[in-house]
């Protein structure tokens, strides 16, 4: 898994061995090894409570690991936490900006803490507000920001001095599609400037779209690692996706398809859709014929790579959404 070219030719942003974090008897992080090359977007993908945030907090020096060791940007996490802190920046899961203050005050605060004079802090703050499209909200209390604005301010606060490594904890959770795309653009722009980004997400399409490499995390362990292409390939060659015109015919279609293909047919979360793994195009035409013969009308019929959703299902034996709503889970 780790013997591909990238990890050998480039210096590592993060090298971790056997990280463990226990909360009482619960092993929130249960032996995580990482080798994350510099200059990429690396995604931690997993449901709530899988240990993504805990791992990130350990790497950002917020939590001490109970076992294991790590080097972050070449500095030992336990021996030189302050050196690590000068190289990284953290944007937490719950907005890590001060919602009682306004936008510009938040950025000035961080700039002052970095050691800038009051004058330069103000200049840098308004420059960043402008770059992140928040100049009109500079004097507005963050409490009154939309979710997307808050996230952008949060990332801007991490950019007062552009870090070598940015931790982004669930950057788009709860955002509307437009704000989500804005955040994605920001992350992409960031990587072109040389910052390595480590993000956590529970959204498969986010990991797919954004991350150069992905670690699938479940129950505190990495259960798969690689590019999204590699992860998909590890699950199987092709997946047949069928979307029916009439959702009420789905049960019948499931039966017909599994008889025709001889493989299990899964019901997707979309009430009109089904999916099955299959070996080749020949089987696909057999499936279409079976549906056609029984007058089940099809609106979409496609053969393609498995989605990360299917990857997750295959790897964990349960859909990714399973644990999503566990409120208060120690993640």
């Amino acid at each position: 898994m780790n013997n591909d070219l990238d990890t050998h030719n480039q210096p590592l942003a993060i090298k971790a061995t056997g990280l463990v974090k226990r909360f009482g008897k619960h092993r929130a992080v249960d032996g995580i090894d990482l080798a994350i090359p510099q200059g990429i977007v690396y995604g931690f993908l997993g449901p709530n409570g899988a240990g993504k945030t805990t791992t990130m907090k350990m790497l950002a020096t917020l939590l001490k690991p109970d076992e294991g060791s790590a080097q972050v940007m070449g500095h030992d996490l336990l021996k030189e936490p302050d050196a690590v802190r000068t190289r990284v920046s953290l944007t937490g899961q719950f907005a890590s900006v001060d919602e009682d203050l306004n936008g510009i005050e938040n950025l000035i605060l961080i700039a002052r803490l970095m050691g800038y004079s009051s004058r330069i802090a103000k200049k840098r703050a308004s420059e960043l507000l402008d770059a992140f499209g928040l100049q009109d909200a500079a004097k507005r209390q963050v409490k009154k920001y939309s979710g997307g604005m808050r996230r952008r301010l949060d990332i801007a606060a991490s950019m007062i001095i552009r870090p070598d490594l940015l931790f982004l904890d669930e950057p788009t959770t709860g955002l509307d599609p437009r704000s989500r795309n804005q955040i994605w653009d920001i992350v992409r722009a960031l990587v072109t400037t040389g910052t390595t980004v480590l993000l956590t997400t529970q959204y498969l399409d986010e990991a797919d779209q954004l991350a150069d490499r992905i670690a699938v995390i479940d129950h505190g362990k990495i259960i798969a690692e690689g590019t999204s292409g590699e992860l998909k390939a590890s699950v199987g060659s092709g997946v047949l996706h069928v979307r029916l015109l009439d959702p009420s015919t789905r049960a019948q279609a499931q039966q017909l398809l599994s008889d025709a293909l001889g493989t299990p047919v899964r019901l997707s979360s979309d009430p009109a859709a089904l999916a099955a793994q299959l070996a080749g195009t020949k089987a696909a035409s057999k499936a279409l014929a079976a549906l056609d013969a029984n007058q089940i009308e099809v609106s979409e019929f496609s053969l393609g790579q498995p989605s990360l959703d299917e990857v997750f299902l295959t790897l964990t034996g349960k859909p990714a959404e399973n644990e999503e709503q566990k409120e208060g889970a120690k993640s």
Binding site: F23, K57, A60, T61, L62, L63, K64, D82, R85, T86, V88, S89, L90, T91, G92, Q93, F94, A95, S96, V97, D98, E99, D100, L101, E105, L109, I110, R112, L113, M114, G115, Y116, S117, I120, R124, E127, L128, D130, A131, F132, G133, Q141, A157, M159, I160, I161, R162, D185, I186, A189, L190, T192, T193, T195, K330
Partner: protein, 273 residues
């Protein structure tokens, strides 16, 4: 502005910044104090506890109990004002724990803890800002007292020294509430526990009455209470009879509070999930 342009703008803003020399602990603590004081601008209700409560307590105790306790309200004022100053400021320290708990639950502190700064500075900064609040409360109590007829025999310098002594003790006492603020889950719980602690500590003291009429065991407790010593010291300073023994004891108690509770606070703060 097109997508392309805005992206170019963003990249321009993300070029390598020259890192200024690392600020010292005092500078970062003062920056955090600035943050806390800025909040007063947005949430002026925050000042209620240092404005409204001292006025209410002073009026209530002077006019409801003063006559019965000391013969006349004007006589009681001379006794009460230094005490009510202590009581008001000691009660205000609770909000240190409450606001810390609030702050931490919102995730702002995750960022602070990941910054390369002297790590106690967010807490020290909050306490410095609280000291400003305690000063406001002190001034209100003294001015109200003067209006009602409090006539201290001490000089202005002695009165100021009395206030400073109260501030030193309050700053030290606050570290207990930062511990409570870090241990408990909600700010409501922090408020409840802290008040439960503070009521006996402030009322089992010589703030409101002379302990002479109390049963022996209680009188011993009251006299050993640091709040009583502080009150005696402040009464002494404001009355022009400087009570050195009590002042020394208050300073020792303050040092002990800081020595015990600030390391616990820092331990909890560093290891907060």
């Amino acid at each position: 502005m097109s997508e392309e342009q805005s992206m170019a703008k963003m990249r321009a803003a993300l070029v390598e910044q020259e890192r200024p020399p690392r600020p010292n602990g005092i500078a970062t603590s003062l920056t955090f104090a600035w943050r806390a004081l800025l909040k007063i601008k947005y949430v002026p209700e925050q000042l209620l506890d240092v404005t409204f409560f001292p006025v209410m307590f002073t009026l209530m105790f002077t006019y409801l109990f003063g006559g019965a306790l000391a013969g006349s309200t004007s006589q009681y004022l001379q006794f009460l004002i230094p005490g009510i100053l202590v009581q008001t400021v000691v009660f205000t320290t609770v909000y240190t724990g409450v606001s810390l708990n609030d702050d931490i639950s919102k995730g702002t502190f995750d960022r602070f803890r990941s910054l390369p700064i002297w790590s106690p500075s967010p807490l020290v900064g909050a306490l410095i800002a609280d000291t400003v609040r305690y000063t406001i409360a002190s001034i209100i109590v003294i001015v109200l007292g003067l209006i009602l007829g409090f006539r201290p025999a001490g000089t202005i310098l002695e009165i100021i020294a009395g206030i400073i002594l109260v501030l030193i003790f309050a700053f030290s006492l606050s570290w207990i509430f930062t511990v409570i603020g870090l241990i408990l889950q909600t700010s409501k719980a922090v408020m409840g526990i802290s008040m439960t602690l503070l009521f006996p500590v402030t009322f089992a003291s010589n703030i409101f009455v002379d302990p002479a009429t109390m049963p022996g065991w209680l009188r011993a407790t009251v006299n050993a209470n640091p709040v009583s010593m502080l009150t005696t010291a402040v009464r002494g300073l404001m009355g022009g009879r400087v009570a050195f023994t009590e002042i020394i004891w208050v300073l020792i108690a303050s040092a002990v509070l800081i020595l015990i509770f600030s390391p616990i606070t820092m331990y909890l703060y560093r290891n907060k999930r």
